[in-house]
């Protein structure tokens, strides 16, 4: 069966859930081959095999991890050529989309970013579904040219375990000088919050200007639900929460099972980052706030009384 390359998203071999989704989607199109860049191959192997990787290409040259995206795109292009892969799937992260863009040009292949579904198409092509304009339209496309390059949004495809052989192959990649021009000279990992990652969490609780800078009720409610914490741009611009937590057009796009907006008005740019959430809940003092147009359930009230009460009730129900 033809190979489908999957770029593994991992930190030192700890594979992110989005990679299991990619492997599940890849199995629909052909035989999944995981491409693992950087150290941690021994740790990652078992997980990759569990979700269907028949082969694992291990690319460990520091040149691939010490530079921004271009070397990985070159490596994938060489792998596509060597294996005749029928498609390449990548995570819809900033890096994933950029690698995808460069790869599509290098291999003269069609490109789809931010897909929420992937299916086999006609004539060996790929059919994708995307959600555009802040979730107000669903677009189905087909890509037939080259080895279609698809980036898939996290939380889009239900993960299925389907054991693969997980045979490791090391490959020799030739990198050009220009690919090594943009060097990562410093990298500082952010302190872990202990909460799930925003893009992968099943539940996200976000706070906005209405918190007045006090995120404690938002965080406590999030913790009662095991949720990730997000923020509106107004809260981020005020310096109340880190930019990496910003949900929206210029922040992170999330699509959890449940999204809770507290003290957020629901501006179009914020909606762009959360409107595809399955269930939406809002707490806002203003009954006219546009966020209430989208909710499955809303409470008109002060978040400083509503959230603590809800937190207490949720915790009580768990006992």
């Amino acid at each position: 069966m033809a190979e489908v390359l999957v770029l593994v998203d991992h930190v030192d071999g700890q594979v992110r859930k989005s990679t299991a989704e990619l492997l599940t989607a890849a199995a629909r199109l052909g035989e999944p081959s995981a491409v693992l860049v950087g150290a941690g191959g021994d740790t990652a192997r078992e997980t990759l095999a569990r979700y269907g990787a028949a082969k694992i290409y291990r690319l460990e040259s520091p040149d691939l991890t010490d530079h921004l995206v271009a070397p990985v795109a070159e490596a994938l292009a060489q792998l596509v050529e060597r294996t005749g892969a029928v498609a390449v799937l990548l995570p819809s992260s900033n890096d994933g989309k950029e690698i995808a863009g460069r790869l599509a040009i290098k291999t003269s292949s069609g490109l789809i970013t931010d897909a929420v579904d992937v299916q086999p198409g006609e004539a060996g092509g790929v059919r994708t579904t995307q959600s555009v304009f802040a979730g107000s339209y669903t677009v189905v496309s087909s890509v037939t040219r080259g080895s279609p390059v698809i980036t898939l949004k996290p939380n889009s495809v239900p993960v299925e375990e389907s054991p693969g052989a997980g045979v490791e192959e090391s490959v020799d990649i030739q990198l050009s000088d220009v690919a090594r021009a943009a060097r990562i000279v410093e990298r500082s990992a952010k302190a872990a919050s202990g909460r799930p990652s925003l893009t992968e969490a099943a539940i996200v609780v976000s706070g906005g200007r209405g918190t007045g800078g006090d995120f404690a009720p938002v965080e406590q409610f999030a913790d009662s639900l095991g949720a990730a914490v997000g923020a509106s741009r107004a809260a981020v611009d005020a310096g109340w929460y880190p930019h990496a937590s910003q949900v929206g057009q210029t922040g992170v796009q999330v699509s959890p099972q449940l999204y809770v907006a507290a003290g957020i008005s629901g501006a179009i740019q914020h909606r762009a980052g959360m409107q595809t959430s399955k269930t939406i809940v809002a707490v806002n003092k203003d009954p006219e706030a546009p966020i209430f147009e989208l909710v499955d359930f809303g409470v008109v009230g002060d978040l400083f009384t509503v959230l603590p009460q809800a937190t207490e009730q949720v915790n009580a129900r768990k006992d």
Partner: protein
């Protein structure tokens, strides 16, 4: 320092955006404007030349109306502008857009070599964030993207790039393609003087033929992927909204329990 800033003319996000029967974005029914996210790139370019020396050229590919995006950039302080417009480009995807922009950057560089190509974070209409990477690929240049801080020293550019897990410092030689986020600066408003001065600034209009691009390589028919179906999602209908009269939090917890979140 010779800087080219790529700016896009986009339908206003506040308007009712939709699709044409041929599945391209409806750009007629909605007022257009300079993509807000590209204002940060224009501002950053102006700051760089103001701190040293050099020239800022703004470049757009789009319909004739896209000249409005150039005008705003010139009013902010850019020195000259290039509009690439041609009937054949309607419906172009990112692959074709990057081809046309790359050829335009090359042509701009024929007079004085281009040191830096600046772009925004994403189009506010398409929001793919792939054109900068593709442009870099086509120009054979390094890309340094998602910059929330930017410094240029001699022939080196250094940026800060943040994501959920890490903050990175990235360094590259020039020339390079750099995209900037909305965290990088506060774009200026055109001053009265700027608005008057813009009227005398040169705007060149190029066709695909001027760039030596074959019309068959761009536009809807050349796209490497094909849109088959577009369906409007039924607008989310507002669910139950209750006023908190002392039991709002309890009602919320009950709702979550009824949906099995607790």
């Amino acid at each position: 320092m010779n800087i080219v800033v790529c700016v896009k003319y986009v339908p206003d996000a506040q308007g009712d955006r939709g699709f044409e029967p041929d599945h391209t974005t409806d750009r007629e029914g909605v007022d257009g404007l300079l993509s807000e996210l590209d204002e940060y790139a224009v501002e950053e370019a102006l700051k760089i030349v103001e701190a040293g020396e050099g020239e800022v050229t703004v470049l757009t590919m789009g319909p004739e109306d896209a000249a409005a995006a150039l005008k705003k950039s010139l009013q902010m302080g850019a020195h000259k502008a290039v509009l690439v417009t041609d009937e054949a480009i309607a419906g172009s995807d990112a692959v074709a857009t990057s081809l046309v922009l790359a050829e335009a950057v090359r042509k701009i560089g024929e007079e004085t070599p281009v040191d830096l190509v600046l772009t925004g974070l994403a189009s506010t209409d398409g929001s793919m964030s792939v054109v900068p990477a593709m442009l870099a690929e086509r120009l054979g240049l390094p890309q340094v993207t998602f910059a929330s801080e930017l410094t240029v020293e001699g022939s080196t550019v250094r940026i800060r790039r943040d994501d959920e897990t890490a903050s990175e410092t990235i360094e590259s030689t020039l020339p390079a393609v750099v995209s900037v986020t909305d965290q990088i600066n506060d774009p200026r408003y055109p001053s009265f003087k700027g608005i008057m001065a813009a009227k005398k600034k040169p705007v060149q209009t190029w066709s695909l033929a001027d760039l030596g691009v074959d019309p068959a390589q761009v536009g809807l028919d050349a796209a490497w992927s094909r849109v088959e179906e577009v369906t409007a999602r039924p607008p989310r209908t507002a669910g139950e909204v209750v006023a908190d009269e002392g039991e709002g939090g309890t009602a919320l917890a009950q709702f979550l329990a009824s949906r099995k979140f607790v």
